[in-house]
Subunit: 220 residues, 2 copies
Amino acid sequence: MKAYLIQMLKEIALLGAIRDKIEISSIELSNQIDTSQQTASRYLLELDKKGMITRELGIKKQLIQITDLGKTTLQEEHLQYQQIFELTNRIYISGKVVSGIGEGSYYTEQINYIKQFQEKLKFKPFPGTLNIEIKHIEKNKIRLVKKYNAILINEFKNNNRTFGGVKCFHAKIENIKGAIVLPIRSHYSNILEFISPYFLRKKLKLKDGDFVKIIIFLKN
Amino acid sequence: MKAYLIQMLKEIALLGAIRDKIEISSIELSNQIDTSQQTASRYLLELDKKGMITRELGIKKQLIQITDLGKTTLQEEHLQYQQIFELTNRIYISGKVVSGIGEGSYYTEQINYIKQFQEKLKFKPFPGTLNIEIKHIEKNKIRLVKKYNAILINEFKNNNRTFGGVKCFHAKIENIKGAIVLPIRSHYSNILEFISPYFLRKKLKLKDGDFVKIIIFLKN
DNA sequence: ATTACTAGTAAGCGAGTAT
DNA sequence: TATACTCGCTTACTAGTAA
């Protein structure tokens, strides 16, 4: 979504086009966003094409209303500004259950990890992680979480292999306690790994594609 | 301010650059906003030039922090989204006292207006209006206010002249009660007219250029 | 590794204007 | 009145690469 289209959509929303149809001409909109009538017209066409607004062209002006898709787009923007200015000590993320590549199980079976989890998180993790695919927009939240003081699980060597350190945060998934695990050395991924004392797929009757809600607790 | 620069600034803020300096490379930022390294670099140069961010270029990556100006810019965006999704029954506007062209006094001395003000607003306005110049960004709020059910003051004729109808909203200026007056037939102006039972310039010791805070009360 | 310049290409803009 | 097309001009983009 181009930045100028979001700006235009926001202007239309400020005029009240989320609740009602608003009557406005392209020239009025062009004055509002300080551009030409032609550009305002083009923006409206683009927003219409993307399904962000509906239009009823009359002989004079046009009736414009923002669609659910358009509203969702603006809400995602709003969420980002809330994160910037209104952040509290909890972060809410929703995502979709997906199958991992089996690495999670391997990791959570390492005795050195298990010891640290028990000591620092106060629970013994069930072998394996539950992988949650989060929306692109929500990746911002993960980046932000990473800035906070995490519970650190140190790296260690086992025979010839090095197991990297991870950052953990206490979290809940559908109200079941556990933690999220973020590898220290990794790019921002859209997969969140959740560990818990329970076999979550069974306890929560989860299958791939199910949507779940996660709350991450930040320490400070 | 170009839309893409605000978007970039928001992304940097999401990484925590309002509180602290963050260490990030142009290529990491380019991945985040889905563009090339060169474009991300150019955006940073533009933001720096506008005084929105400060940068410390090292041999590797760069330390970026958002300036007060940058923060203010983002807060204005945030305010707009709050207006869209969190609107309550009060609207807060700040502005600067300016001198009008003397028309306000003429209007508020018309007996027909005075009668209506007394009946509908429950106070007798002091002759003249206090003119408040609002920032461009705040004009959105006025547009929104206009969508609400106002207290209507009807138009009337006096000899050969027609006095147009106005919309009023109960309001407070620096905690002194009164009302704002919006001409029904007018384009969106950046001047807000405030009426009150008192001579506000004296009561509040106001002179041109002073900043004041206004609260507008919406009926529903 | 980085940042950011150059230059060629693509996208966006708005005056004029058809509808 | 409107909206929105064409087209010449400007701005923005990125591959290549210097520093």
